[in-house]
Amino acid sequence: MILDWPTLLPLIFAGLMGVSILLYVILDGFDLGIGILFTGADDAEKDTMIAAIGPFWDANETWLVLAVGLLLVAFPVAHGVILTALYLPVFVLLLGLILRGVAFDFRAKVPVHRKGRWNMLFFAGSLLAALAQGYMLGIYVLGLQQGLPAMGFALLTAICLTAAYAAMGAAWLIYKTEGALQEKAVRWLRRALVLTVAGMGAVSLATPLASPRIFDKWFAWPQMALLAPLPVVSGLLFLWLWRISGKLPAEGDAHSLKPFIALALIFAAGFGGLAYSFYPYVVPERMTIWEAAAATDSLAFILIGTAFVLPVILGYTIYAYRVFGGKAVDLSYD
């Protein structure tokens, strides 16, 4: 491989896109998860749960816009191929995101007797969005195949990702709440973890079987040895998470952020495995990142801006999380 700009730029952008998808999945993962957990909470708890994500969800969702934006900017042809193939699931995703986004605001501003309706829609929208994302992931893993077996596999990934988001949501609640709700969140976390582990295991087994190319990439020497840390570390993190969550909530609120961090690391490991499986394709089996890349000039033009702006974005995002750090208190505009 010659390291000139036309080779490097698509790589850089694939990396940036990967980072923003990962950040999206972790960050919007926890607020989607909290929406999914709405179904098991009473009215007072719902207000606290909303308060735990209120200042963040808008910015969290922006990582999705950046990820899709980067796909559109850096790989315009792939953007069209992928999104036309996923036409209906994308619609369901958007429907879900619209419903939960507006429900979030409407539930606090409509007359009190209508609040329940918007709580319901917040749950439904979050669930739909999570399922649609998992479904799209499944179809994408299989190289945008259609047909019943692909749909079956995609339904599996849909349930798995939804469970994982619920686990993220519960882990965030453990960090942001206290008392009865925190104890409830621990129980939610452990239940969601069981589902997540089962789902991730099934997906990990099914993926190499469903795609011979991915099978060859993983089960060859010496790649196998080099890749072994990904599943091993994920497994250990799961075990550790299971043990530590059994002792929560702990004295003086110790360890309350650890489940979230462990889950984020597991997400990163799983995501690393997926990224390795796909490389160098942006449309699996069909189009590499270099075939789909936009003109070098255009990529260079946007990279300059990105290099300056992205660190600033990360900086003020961290600042905002610090401003609203600590346990969630009821939201008020004043």
Partner: protein, 454 residues
């Protein structure tokens, strides 16, 4: 079912719904900054109460803008893959810069602006308000740069059917961009001004005489009264710019079928494309020549010059007239309002009754204006570069029909709920009076100024 037509309707529906909310938030952010600034300067709590009322409207509108905006980023790929394949090298970076320089700025500081008043210092809270307003305006900058480039492309070359940028400065500052940006920012200012005025008028009608209501009402009316003459001038300049670069659009706006001098200004007509003439025409002699060429004998290009290449006449002609009509109504009522409020210090009931529906006049004007310019660009998606028909994707018509029906139903419901919530908020404020807690009290530690000018 024809996927092209359905995709066009779907995109039109999505972007029409979307633009309603940025049209409010782009300027409402600056209104909020003004309220905050007045509070900082005077220490008058009524300004802060106005802020708290309008920050809620902002949050609601912003949320609707975000979710409908996310939809837009997907639409390019799901329905118009040919657009990104052909001009992705240009559209991509402009959209990318919007996300990087605007979206994140708004979204992150929105949290601090909405919920951070007692968490950060007053100065940081004011800064967050400014950054949100600045972010929404930057967003408009990049989106209008892209839209203007689609109208009047510049700074690029075509190689193998794909556009490549040769001069980014020329791409961004393409010929119609400065006009369109100013026209849209003013339109947004008017939309927010009439929304603020109309909402306050509703509170007034419901018996609210609180100081925060008066402050918001005066601000809305004053901004509207100042901006509308500027907008009429900017719109005229924008029209002249369109005549230079997109004469077919102006010919359709004026329903002028043949190139000639002494073109009348058509006030009313039913343009008939088959017969190439206007029915039931009511016109002012020489009017269009005077406006467009500043001379009665000025020659104005007609639709005959653009046979088969001009936009549909009826929708462009009428959308333009609706926009102008809204502008004239805005002029009339904002000046009447300014006269009564600032000269007489009252708001007569008939005027309040008119101002309430005028709260949505900005929406009507913005939509009519966008229909004029977007339908007026047809049959092109990017003028001279890409036809709309060549950009549509391979998705089956049935699928598009299904999603279109879904979007329309959802948008209709959301619009009703949004307006319902606004009315509920206004009536509640009137019923309960200024009950929002005094900014200088509350449970939490805070560092707000207690005295004027502190």
């Amino acid at each position: 079912m024809d996927p092209l037509l359905l995709s066009r309707i779907q995109f039109g529906a999505n972007i029409s719904f979307h633009i309603l909310f940025p049209a409010i938030t782009i300027s409402l952010g600056w209104f909020l900054l003004f309220f905050k600034w007045r509070y900082n300067r005077t220490g008058d709590e009524a300004w802060m109460r106005a802020y708290f009322t309008w920050v809620k409207v902002f949050a609601l509108s912003f949320a609707l803008g975000v979710v409908s905006g996310v939809t837009m980023t997907f639409q390019f790929g799901t329905n118009w893959p040919g657009f990104m394949e052909t001009v992705g090298n240009i559209a991509g970076p402009l959209l990318g810069y919007e996300v990087l320089t605007a979206f994140f700025l708004e979204a992150v500081f929105l949290g601090i602006m909405l919920f951070g008043f007692r968490k950060v210092s007053n100065r940081v809270h004011t800064l967050a308000t400014f950054l949100v307003a600045f972010g929404t305006t930057m967003s408009a900058f990049w989106i209008l740069a892209l839209n203007s480039w689609m109208q009047t492309p510049a700074g690029f070359e075509m190689r193998d059917g794909v556009a490549y940028a040769t001069d980014w400065w020329a791409v961004i500052f393409n010929p119609s961009f400065p006009y369109r940006l100013i026209h849209m920012l003013l339109a947004s200012g008017l939309t927010a001004a009439f929304l603020v005025a109309g909402f306050s008028a509703l509170r007034h009608l419901a018996g609210d005489r609180s100081e925060s209501m008066w402050k918001a009402l005066r601000t809305g009316i004053a901004v509207g009264a100042v901006l509308i003459p500027l907008q009429i001038f900017a719109g005229d300049q924008h029209g002249l710019n369109t005549l230079e670069h997109q004469p077919a659009k102006v010919a359709a706006m004026e329903a002028n079928w043949e190139t000639r001098s002494n073109v009348p200004l058509v006030l009313f007509a039913l343009p008939d494309e088959a017969a190439k003439e206007n029915r039931y025409e009511l016109a002012i002699p020489n009017g269009a020549s005077l406006i467009l060429r500043h001379s009665a004998s000025g020659v104005v290009p007609g639709l005959d010059q653009f046979e088969g290449e001009h936009p549909p006449v009826m929708p462009v002609f009428w959308a333009f007239r609706i926009m102008v009509g809204v502008g004239l109504a805005m002029l009339l009522f904002s000046w009447a309002g300014a006269f009564y409020l600032f000269r007489r210090g009252t708001l007569p009931k008939p005027l309040a009754l008119v101002l309430v529906p005028m709260a949505l006049s900005g929406w009507v004007g913005v939509l009519a204006g966008w229909y004029t310019t977007e339908i007026g660009r047809q049959p092109w998606l990017v003028t001279g570069v890409l036809k709309t028909a060549d950009a549509v994707g391979p998705v089956a018509g049935g699928h598009v029909a299904l999603t279109l029906a879904g979007y329309l139903a959802l948008y209709a419901v959301l619009l009703v709920v949004y307006l319902g919530v606004l009315i509920h908020m206004a009536l509640k404020a009137a019923r309960e009076g200024d009950r929002s807690p005094s900014p200088a009290s509350g449970d939490h530690a805070m560092s707000q100024p207690m005295q004027a000018g502190e």
